[in-house]
């Protein structure tokens, strides 16, 4: 991995974290959605770096594109972009400190796993670079993963019908 790539990776990481924090902290739902779009796009670039061009395209098209458009559309539809701060109900009095403690703990556990796990499983010096073009992915999806693909297709259909039924007026 070259220095340039490292520099790019660190930059992307910083951008990713920043946009995630933006999502977490923003007071406006539309901004939050845009931060998330940014985060997804950064993810797509990282996918490119990691030999996943097909996923990068899918990420942009499906996530940053379709899904987030849907989000923004619902925000607009409901007129729910302004997120007024409100009092926590009594049951949630300690929600914030507890959540932060747990989050830090989870992060610590992850760091511990990475620092200790690196020694357990040394990375192979030369990892193979398999063909990951959309064509190759297609061969995979319609080869060994044909059954899951069909199941997921069915799931999508069910979700579509479900969404239609749910959003129908009464």
């Amino acid at each position: 991995m070259t220095m340039a790539e490292w520099a790019l990776l660190v930059l992307l990481g910083a951008l990713s974290l920043a946009s995630a924090l933006g999502l977490l902290l923003s007071r406006n739902a539309v901004y939050a959605a845009l931060f998330l779009v940014l985060n997804f796009s950064v993810g797509a670039v990282i996918y490119l770096l990691f030999n996943a061009p097909f996923l990068a395209v899918t990420q942009v098209a499906v996530y940053a594109g379709a899904i987030m458009v849907l989000f923004v559309f619902v925000i607009m539809l409901l007129g729910a972009e302004r997120l007024a701060p409100a009092e926590n109900p009594p049951g949630l009095a300690y929600q914030r400190p507890l959540a932060i403690i747990l989050a830090v703990a989870l992060l610590a556990v992850a760091a511990w796993a990475l620092l200790s796990g690196a020694q357990i499983e040394p990375s192979p010096s030369v990892a193979p670079r398999p063909d990951s073009s959309p064509q190759a992915m297609g061969m995979w999806l319609f080869g060994p993963y044909l059954l899951p693909l069909q199941v997921v297709a069915l799931l999508l259909l069910a979700a579509m019908v479900g969404a239609l039924v749910l959003s129908r007026k009464s």
């Binding site: 049951g91 929600q95 989870l106 556990v109 511990w112 796993a113």
Partner: protein, 624 residues
Amino acid sequence: MELFVASPILFPLLGILLNVLIGKKLGERGVGWLASTVVVASFAVSLALFAQVAGDSEHAAVHVKVLPWISAGPLQVSWGLLVDPLSSVMMLIVTGIGALIHIYSIGYMHGDPHFQRFFVYLNLFIASMLTLVMADNFLVLFVGWELVGLCSYLLIGFWFTELKNAAAGRKAFVVNRIGDVGFVLGILAIFVTFGSLDFAEVFKAVKAQGGALAAAAGVITLLLFIGATGKSAQIPLFVWLPDAMAGPTPVSALIHAATMVTAGIYMMTRAHALFELAPFTQQIVALVGALTALVAGTSALRQLDIKRVLAYSTVSQLGFMVAAAGLGAYVASMFHLLTHAFFKALLFLAAGSVIHGMGHDRHTDPQDMRNMGGLARRMPVTFAAFVIGGLALAGVPPLSGFFSKDEILLAAFTHQPLTFLLLGATAIVTALYVGRQLILVFLGEPRTASAAHAHESPAVMTAPLIALAVGAVLGGALNLPGGGWLHHWLEPLIAEQAKPLNLPLAAFFTALSVLALAVAGWMYRRPERAAREVARGVGLFLARAWRIDDAYAQVVVKPFYFISTVCAQVVDVGLVDGAVNGVGDVFRRLAQLVRGLQTGLVRNYGLVMLLGAVLVTAYFVVVR
């Protein structure tokens, strides 16, 4: 052959099937005649079987095993049918009188909304009763025994929309079950003692072992007799029979006079070999029978309901039969059973005819004798039938009752003075209540409009009356004194010394009976007396059947209610409900403790999920 022997039972069952399936289409006439036809067919087959047994020089029994039933180690029971001299006579009585009463019922039940149900029950009864008498072992006999009990219950409560009738049916059922407990225990004791329930094997063993079985036989016979007291309405279990008059009158005639109630006597006669080994039981049987005869007979003296008089009279006459069995005079017992079946069925059907003729005014009880009087001119056939039945019952020669009763009295006279005294007194009382009833119902002037407007019943009802009247008159010829036909007929089963007519005794009782009839006539020349004398004192005591029902209410029912109340209000409410509610309460309190956790706030749940995720991840990363 099996099918032919079983067909008397199968015919009524076929009748039930057809009447249940297509009864609605057949209509009232069709249902009634179909049900009657199948019983006539049963009668014809019974007659053929009777002829077959009679044709055999040895009177050998026709014995078939229709189907295997229970086969469990030593317990081998099959649906076996036995037609021997004893059961063939019973079959003829059941199907013959049964057929007549079926035909009579077509007229009597005319217009009843449940006509079809009535005849289904009646057919079922015939099939059950034939199962009882044709059984070749104690268990099948018990099946029939229980089935006739069921039919009796169903038919007593036939008009169940009136609470009184339903209660009477229930009473009959419960009281019979008490006797049945004894009967079942007796059957078990037979199996334990003999290892078999087949009549043939049991009685063979009895003959072989004889006196060695005295102790076991004592226990068995006492238990069997308890069963007989229930079914044949003896002290202490006779209380159900008078109440059973709540059923339609043909039922009273068929089931509660002529056939079912004689099942106990039939059973004791069937098992007479066992009873003869147990002299102590015999004594008890004789005394209970005689006592029942007197108690019920005197109770009949003060009844006002035309059917209840006959009901108590039936109990009394059953007492005669039981006493005869206890005296070892089984032939006399069977003979009286036979004649009684004729004249008591006749009396009941005549009473039914009276009720039928009276029942036009809603406000007058058509069964209360105080409302009658003067019916002789208005219902001549019924009157003649009633007179014949009554005189036969009172034991006036040469009617059938005279011969059979005389035979029993003679047996008592030679064996047991106490039994003889009781039965003799009953014989006189019998003539008294017969006279009383005849006068109150038929003679004098009509006392109500219903009686004045009474009319003779249709031919379909009077024809059976005439047929039964012939039987009641000529029945005595079946067993003339000194070893008549029945005596010889039953000889292969019951070897008994035939006794010649004891002329002084017979004359004495005949004279007393006639005198008693006359006394009754004189006493009730003013019929108002009947109403007056039951108001208090001895009359009331007798009208209430020696207050035995009241005693049961005090001794059995009241404590039972008390225990029930305690169970319901203390045990159930306190203990059972307490336990159940307590368990529920514990869980409710526990739930109260933890319900706070369910805040309904999804973010709370998320927090706990994250805690779980942290812990699981930490476990895999740090511990493993």
